[in-house]
Symmetry: C2
Subunit: 205 residues, 2 copies
């Protein structure tokens, strides 16, 4: 058993490497982050890194594993409950999305995703399946229930989902860019709510 009795977390070297790498990759991308910089950021020599990871790519893959790990998940019942209340569903979804946008860890991950999206085929495929398809699936389910219950005008649930999701993504992108330069995002942060309001008025019966 490890000494976890104290409140202070004991951070292993491996964890330190992951944390430093996460920060550096999210700031400069894969290519521009040298193992030297990672090592010096951790406070060890380069050679010591290789006791924990096979090579640089191994470090990146370990870090990148988390990019799609916390897509907020909704159970079928949760979707149904919220969708029956119409706008509540959209609100819940958008607020989860907003939370992710402002969450420090998710922000780093989103940055790595953006930087490496065009250099890494696997990342592109995961973006399509985890970021896009998964979201579309959950949203479609909600919209379908709303149509069944006559809460919204009937149309293609997938199309509605696409319309709803695309704006959420764009807001997130803008906020991420602006926060990167430490500029205030107060005017943008209400966009999520505005989007929900507009969208709901567009589709409701």
């Amino acid at each position: 058993m490890q000494e976890n009795r104290t409140t202070e977390k004991i951070i292993s070297t491996k964890e330190k490497i992951i944390n430093s790498s996460k920060r550096l990759f999210s700031e400069h991308g894969y290519k521009a982050t040298s193992v030297r910089k990672i090592a010096s950021d951790v406070g060890i020599r380069e050679s010591a890194l290789y006791n924990h990871f096979k090579n640089k790519e191994d470090i990146f893959l370990t870090v990148a594993k988390d990019i799609f790990s916390s897509p907020f998940s909704f159970s079928h019942d949760e979707i149904k409950d919220a969708a029956l209340k119409g706008k509540v569903f959209l609100n819940k979804y958008a607020m989860q999305y907003k939370l992710l946008t402002f969450d420090k860890n998710n922000e780093s991950m989103f940055r790595i995703l953006l930087i490496e999206l065009l250099q890494n085929k696997e990342l592109r495929e995961q973006f399509m399946s985890e970021f896009h398809d998964k979201n579309i699936k959950v949203l479609s389910e909600g919209f379908f229930i709303m149509m069944q219950n006559d809460l919204i005008r009937s149309s293609d649930p997938m199309m509605l989902s696409y319309e709803f999701l695309s704006t959420l993504f764009y807001i997130r992108l803008q906020i991420t860019l602006i926060r990167y330069d430490s500029i205030s995002t107060t005017s943008l942060s209400t966009q999520f709510e505005k989007h929900v309001d507009f969208f709901w008025e567009s589709i409701r019966k």
Copy 2:
């Protein structure tokens, strides 16, 4: 006067460098594109590059200059004419956006933009002003005219513009990613039209 009598274009070494760099930067990003690769792609030695450009960054900046050069422009009169016909305005705008999305040169530029967006503050600022603000301005003008003429329900023109633009951007992003892997985009290319249809139905009186 140059020998431009023949139909064959005489491409100077400088132009060759720009073309090769454009392609390489758009495929691998700034860091991963070495001056060596550029030189060998052009068919000259590295040292010869320095007769045309001060350094690697100079090459990049010259290439990057074009990124925001062809934002389709609408004159005030064009906006007014189209906006008075309601949906025609949205259609015109979306089709211009679609054209850009599938234009080879603009596609390369969009890729460079995406790759370097988080590494280059100037690019971020230009993205916000040229890609976002400029589009919002033109769209707002159109929506404002539509409201004045009672074609659409009255609301905030900027908000409508944001909603309309964000989906266009998302479609473009998806298509760019998919085309990069040479996957067919037939199912996605009609998204522009679907978006216009949905959006118009949402706002019209």
